[in-house]
């Protein structure tokens, strides 16, 4: 995989991770008018979010090296978080759609079937 592809994967997984963390928050769900979650579902969202952020960090480090990779990860996390809250304030549905598109983008870029 090329460096720029990994950079995109890092950004997309960061978006998915932050969106998952957002959707597990009871406070956010109430604000967005979503139904209540079962504890297991909440835990699944939480773990998905954390795992996606870990994948994002790893992709960023692989693309840019340890020093630059960590710096890129932290910086883009803040900016993507800001983008996410701006998008959420407009439409939670749009965030869901963008998250699905991001997931598809990650699949297309990483081609997990080829690894298997």
């Amino acid at each position: 995989m090329m460096g720029w592809q990994l950079d995109i994967v890092a950004a997309l997984t960061a978006w998915i991770g932050l969106a998952a963390l957002c959707f597990q928050s009871a406070y956010q769900r109430q604000r967005l008018g979503l139904h209540k979650q079962k504890p297991a579902m909440r835990l699944a969202f939480l773990l998905t979010g954390i795992m996606m952020l870990a994948v994002s960090c790893q992709a960023s480090i692989t693309a840019n090296g340890l020093g630059f990779g960590t710096l890129v990860f932290i910086s883009q996390l803040g900016m993507i978080g800001l983008l996410l809250i701006l998008a959420l304030s407009r439409s939670a549905g749009a965030v869901l759609l963008l998250t699905a598109i991001a997931a598809m983008g990650v699949v297309l870029l990483t081609k997990p079937m080829a690894i298997l």
């Binding site: 630059f68 890129v72 932290i74 910086s75 803040g78 900016m79 800001l82 809250i85």
Partner: protein, 508 residues
């Protein structure tokens, strides 16, 4: 013992008043710092003679030495900056009667470039960022230290007073009333960019570590203050008395340096001449491949080309260089450069919304002189600063090249900045008849108009429309700058339009 709520109240007061008192300086530092992220690119936009095609190899012997021998034969010290990806020109410099003289060279042709006729971003915005153009006794740098410490106080007190820091992590309610939306935006930019705010503030302090610790160093080393420098850089004094005075090929020394470093670009060469001795040639590496601003330096005997010394930074210096690199971004990473720029804008939003909150909470006191002054200062140092900067860019393009063009730009900047202070003072004279959102809207509209005017004037002056600049590699920075100006114009215009539509709520 005070309970947690009283601690929060104390911190709330601290956050409000330190923020208000230092907010103007903080916004100035962050705004100028954000512009400085792309200072070399703005330089090229402002100074057409610096729009050069990149060269693969620059030569001291062929391009710099003939000019230095012509112009500065008697100087005791020559400095030469090599071209790089962001600065395609080479410059030569020396001291004369206490003044540093600088000439720019086109490295492809070896010819001198015309005088820039502008301070550019690296000569005006960047110094404004770190010493406010106050050189006297390092007062500007000390003022920056006080401002940076105030920022740390504001950040820490902000965390303590924020009870629902995790709950509010993704909260932004733009459709609630203006004060609530402003608070949400203030919180979101503060929390999500907290690592950036901390690191950039702390690293900004560390850059000038050796200036801030000067009194302590003087106390320890007394009259042997120079010894501290050689200990920091692990260097020894070199005495080449009695050697040949003729300068050998510096290009040969550059090749040796690159072999030692295993490649790597050259940042700067310093040549020191002494009476009756060989010249000393210091060759500095450009640290584009690492975070730390490690400008490794090799010292050569200028007459024989023999390597005399390699600087080995002390551990204290290495730490300082790491934090300096984090702040100064000597590295070559465009993604990170854009992220720094956007995060810098985020910091400006955080400080600006902090000001707006203070104003909105005290809108009932519109008639009091303290309120009027605080409001005028807040507006002048936020939107006013943007208006003044855009006006400076317009003047840069509108003025014909002349010896006083650089001064005129600075005067225009300061005049417009002063006008943005006078504007709210005059308009708010009659309380309740002119809501403060109207004044903000006027300044935003001025920003939008000036940003569009800057693009138009640049096209008219250079004859280079967007499609041409974006297609040519060496002109791409100009095209991107035009696009950023267009984005500023649209955002400012839309914000002004939104303020126009919303019902006034400040008196509720």
């Amino acid at each position: 013992m005070p309970n947690s709520s009283s601690i929060r109240q104390v911190m709330d007061h601290l956050h409000t008043w330190v923020g208000l008192f230092f907010g103007s300086l903080l916004f100035l530092v962050f705004f100028m710092g954000t512009l400085s992220v792309f200072d070399k690119e703005i330089d090229q936009w402002m100074i057409p003679s610096w729009r050069l095609e990149a060269v693969d190899i620059a030569s001291f012997d062929q391009q710099a030495k003939p000019h230095l021998q012509d112009l500065a034969a008697g100087a005791s010290h020559w400095a030469i900056q090599y071209p790089n990806d962001r600065e395609p020109y080479m410059w030569i410099g020396w001291s004369e009667n206490g003044e540093f003289i600088k000439y720019y060279i086109d490295p492809a042709r070896g010819s001198l470039l015309p005088a820039p006729n502008s301070l550019g971003a690296s000569g005006f915005f960047f110094p404004f960022h770190y010493y406010f153009h106050i050189k006297w006794k390092n007062v500007g740098i000390w003022l920056l230290a006080i401002t940076a410490n105030a920022m740390l106080v504001v950040l820490i007190s902000g965390i303590i007073i924020h009870r629902r820091i995790f709950k509010d992590f993704f909260t932004f309610r733009p459709f609630k009333h203006l004060q609530r939306a402003t608070l949400d935006l203030h919180n979101a930019t503060s929390i999500l960019l907290l690592p950036f705010h901390f690191v950039i503030t702390f690293s900004g302090l560390v850059i000038f570590l050796f200036i801030y610790t000067e009194p302590g160093i003087a106390l320890i080393y007394g009259s042997e203050i120079e010894k501290s420098q050689s200990e920091i850089y692990s260097t020894a004094d070199i005495d080449l008395h009695g050697g040949q005075q003729e300068l050998a090929s510096v290009d040969g020394m550059v090749a040796q340096a690159q072999e030692i470093w295993g490649g790597g670009a050259i940042r700067r060469i310093n040549i020191r001449f002494s009476d009756g001795g060989s010249p000393l040639v210091d060759i500095q590496r450009l640290p584009t491949d690492r975070i730390g601003y490690q400008t490794d330096t090799l010292t050569f005997d200028g007459s024989s080309g023999q390597l005399l010394q390699q600087t080995v930074p002390s551990s204290a210096l290495q730490v300082q260089q790491f934090f300096s690199g984090l702040h100064l971004m000597g590295f070559q990473h465009w993604g990170l450069r854009w992220l720094y720029f956007l995060m810098g804008l985020g910091s400006c939003v955080m400080i600006g919304t902090g000001f707006m909150l203070w104003i909105a909470k005290r809108a009932r006191q519109q008639g009091t002189p303290t309120y009027r002054l605080a409001y005028a200062v807040a507006l002048a140092t936020t939107t006013g600063l943007a208006v003044a900067t855009l006006a400076m860019l317009c003047i840069n393009k509108a003025l014909p090249p002349s010896g006083v063009a650089a001064q005129t730009e600075v005067i225009a900047f300061l005049t417009v900045w002063l006008l943005t202070l006078v504007h709210p003072l005059v308009r708010i004279r009659r309380p309740h008849t002119v809501p403060h959102r109207a004044i903000l809207r006027e300044q935003l509209l001025a920003s939008a108009i000036l940003a569009f005017a800057a693009i138009a004037l640049n096209w008219a002056e250079s004859g280079l429309p967007l499609w041409k600049t974006l297609n040519a590699e060496h002109l791409r920075a100009i095209g991107v700058m035009d696009l950023v100006l267009a984005a500023i114009a649209i955002v400012a215009g839309v914000a002004a339009g939104k303020l126009n539509k919303q019902q006034p709520q400040e008196n509720r």
